[in-house]
């Protein structure tokens, strides 16, 4: 069991919302939600029975842990302000993939990272139990406490240092952001011709589930590029003549796949 019985959130966005709900559901006392936007703070505060505020000075001082779930660029700033309120001995963590845990070093005694490697939207339910939580901290005690807290809501908790978390964050841009952009281009292509994007969904699902179920992406690469099927590639490129973005990406990705399979 974690020694952490209560938390407060700095931030009320997608990540804060999913974490606060999951922790509250697991019996953690979510004491306060801070957001510079009081409407957002209230929405989440009401959901988890926490006090909402848009003033750092009103954050519940007696929280066992303060979780920073905000834009990377403002973590340092808000850490400084929180320290003025709660003092050096507070226990803090952030949920960022990129920011080193050391960002808290000059302000707090106990600090770490509580990073859920998943894409969250407030409006979409997620099985938090499957979400990988990547934990780091400035002492074994900090790490163990964060690990135990994460284990209350997920079966997929790992100690990962700052450097490896960064690697995963870069990889996640490909696995999530760029993949979603592929879907987006696909959608564009069919919409231009009034063809139903729905028809591509079983393919999208299977493409992902094949990997999730254990196939190696390199080994299951299919398509004209990996076959070096020039006549299909040319037919596709000539079809994309009027879609500059899609055509350019088609060319570059095809070239990269050909090279990767040499």
């Amino acid at each position: 069991m974690s020694r952490i019985k209560s938390v407060s959130f700095i931030g009320s966005g997608n990540v804060a919302t999913h974490l606060a709900k999951a922790l509250a559901n697991s019996g953690i006392n979510v004491k306060s939600i801070y957001s510079r936007n009081i409407v957002h703070a209230k929405l989440l505060g009401d959901l988890v029975g926490a006090k909402s505020t848009d003033k750092i000075s009103e954050i519940a001082v007696d929280s066992d842990l303060f979780i920073f779930s905000i834009n990377d660029s403002v973590i340092g700033d808000l850490a400084k302000k929180l320290k003025e309120k709660v003092g050096y001995d507070a226990f803090v963590a952030h949920t960022s993939g990129m920011v080193a845990s050391e960002i808290f070093k000059e302000y707090f005694n106990d600090f770490g990272v509580f990073y859920p490697l998943q894409t969250f939207k407030k409006s979409r339910n997620i099985d938090i139990n499957e979400v990988p939580f990547l934990i780091a901290g400035n002492s074994n005690t900090v790490e163990n406490n964060l690990f135990e807290l994460a284990s209350m809501i997920s079966d997929n908790v790992h100690f990962i240092d700052d450097a490896k978390r960064k690697v995963l964050h870069v990889a996640a841009v490909f696995a999530n952001n760029f993949t979603n952009f592929m879907y987006s281009i696909s959608d564009d292509i069919v919409q231009k011709e009034n063809v139903d994007f729905q028809l591509l969904k079983p393919l999208i699902k299977e493409t992902a589930m094949k990997i999730v179920d254990g196939q190696n992406p390199k080994e299951v690469q299919t398509g004209p590029a990996v076959r070096n099927d020039i006549s299909t590639i040319n037919a596709h490129l000539s079809y994309l003549e009027n879609n500059a973005t899609a055509k350019q990406l088609y060319q570059i990705l095809t070239k990269s796949i050909v090279e990767a399979n040499k």
Copy 2:
């Protein structure tokens, strides 16, 4: 009910394997499997109780339908050879996304397309019932017969003309081949640092399922590119300094996402 009670396959690859199995399971008599590779022909033939052969002359002449499930580039050639054996009055279809149904015009009276829009691997089970089958033909009778045949194995059957099927085929390259390549790069990035690719799988699944469940890819685009978060982008690019392919793709995809969201 389809008037088609028996089929023969020209081809024994991934698509032929899944179709032959599904049709056989639905009570269709799979009479013969032709492949230039007799070992492949036998593997599938034995699986569905069909005669296997590597000679066009041995294909079961009395099949109600001949399904060409082979490389695009050899469909015309084999159609010509099959016609010499079975005559102009045979009923044929191919399973290609790109090839026009007219490829059969000079050889056969009844011809069409029986295209399953999915990625198939012999070794991986698939819920054929959800696979979109895209049907086209040179007459209403042909189309209706192919539609009814597809409906025996799938609940997701559509009439789609050659032009629109081609659009879907191009879109599928993005939704499947290029998406898989994103997974592959992601895998490369983490493997180089001995980080477990397994950690990215919940993200891969959620990224796809969000779209499958009805979100619009453009509306759910996240990441540093769509936020125009230059400091994260630069941190990622500097991390990718020693991975030329990933770095170049990161730059181009980021630029395209920024432009698409202007």
